[in-house]
Symmetry: none
Subunit: 251 residues, 2 copies
């Protein structure tokens, strides 16, 4: 396990991200209530000691998160609480590899602090290159490596997790019982890719072998992202199956 950072990587947090974070804080903290008009952009820029363009970049981030709305000629406003459309069917989640009578083991490969890549920090709503804890685990079915799972936790959660005995305690149990965090929903994306060299070695495949890559963001009850998982599963060891039932489809 590497245990350190690839290359030098300064860990410098862009200014516009910190400004976005500061404003996000004020909004979430209630200091800036929904509907409030923010100070004008030039004023904000001045108060953050930054150029107008830079400030605008921060606002852009917040606008994309639907936290604010900018209106030409009028001002910038704190948006109302976002509405989410989870009228979707509730779905039970069976662990990562719902074992059908197979013997499933998890081997902890290691955990280390690192700097999150863009997808990770975006998903966890952290500034680019923020420090995160990476937990790497290998799932074995019947003793054979099945998937490589890399979990990324924000530093403030990771610090606590690192003190737990991950080798014997599932991560979600650590989250729940040590930190009181319960995962309530998640969003997952599965794509097909080639295995990189490192992943292939851990999984015992040739580099470049076709594989599934699943990326999942899990959220707690407050809709805050808690953990980002990236799972690699060689294509010859796994299949996704579904049963489809065509109902009287209206529209």
């Amino acid at each position: 396990m590497n245990g350190r950072l690839n290359g030098k990587v300064n860990g410098r947090v862009p200014r516009y991200h910190r400004i976005a974070e500061a404003l996000r804080e004020r909004i979430r903290g209630g200091e800036l209530a929904p509907g409030t008009r923010l100070p004008n952009q030039r004023g904000l820029a001045r108060s953050f000691g930054v150029t107008l363009m830079t400030l605008r970049q921060a606002l852009e981030v917040l606008e994309r998160e639907q936290l604010i709305a900018r209106r030409h000629g009028l001002g910038t406003f704190v948006a109302g609480p976002s509405i989410d459309y989870d009228i979707l069917q509730l779905q039970r989640f069976a662990g990562d590899l719902s074992a059908k009578g197979e013997r499933v083991d998890t081997r902890l490969l290691g955990s280390r602090p690192a700097l999150g890549d863009r997808r990770v920090t975006d998903a966890l709503r952290l500034p680019p290159r923020a420090r995160v804890l990476v937990v790497e685990r290998l799932r074995l079915v019947d003793g054979h490596p099945m998937s490589l799972q890399r979990s990324f936790l924000p530093a403030h959660i990771g610090d606590e997790v690192m003190r737990a005995d991950l080798a014997s305690t599932p991560l979600h149990q650590v989250l729940e019982f040590k930190l009181g965090i319960v995962i309530e929903r998640a969003s997952e994306t599965v794509s097909a890719m080639r295995l990189g060299r490192r992943e292939a070695r851990e999984l015992g495949c040739r580099a470049g072998a076709p594989a599934f890559e699943s990326e999942r963001v899990s959220f707690d009850a407050t809709r805050a992202p808690v953990v980002f998982d990236r799972v690699f599963i060689p294509g010859d060891r796994f299949r996704i199956t579904r049963e489809l039932v065509y109902q009287e489809v209206s529209a």
Copy 2:
């Protein structure tokens, strides 16, 4: 350079919008194929006669539209038409990418009788090496090949289907209106594999590119298997997404 000194030559359309539009044209027109790397930002800026910052604004627009992807240190790439496949939306086939306002076309590559391989005949509950009809179609999203679909029909159904105009009539419509067969359920399996040479050529990829392979058996109201589909989708053009909601799971 400035072009705005006397009067409003520019009118109302911001320059970065026009640049975005120009690039959008080139992408949709096929001049810039998916996967292509664009000229670097400084070069693009120069060629449009604008500043780097302005050009970047245009790229931001396109990125938000998922038309391009910028990769730090690597370049800016034309994104493949990538479709999110929500696994919860059961009404939607992998084959039926009638997704999100995209223009979806189907090109009939051909249909021919053949001898079914073992998976096909097993799925259709036919004797090994039974005669089947193979229908091959290419699905295009926005004019770009998205998936290659091979459908296998038992001979007794296939004979009738072959007389229909598959080029203009969807297969399931032929089944329903000419044969009175309505698909009621299906079972699908998705795996990750490498594209073979023929598949790659039809899809415009390199042989060996990672891809999804979906195999689906569809059943009619009497639970009789009607059609076996095998769909190939290059890994860079497709993703499966799911939203998970964890219920009060006592475990």
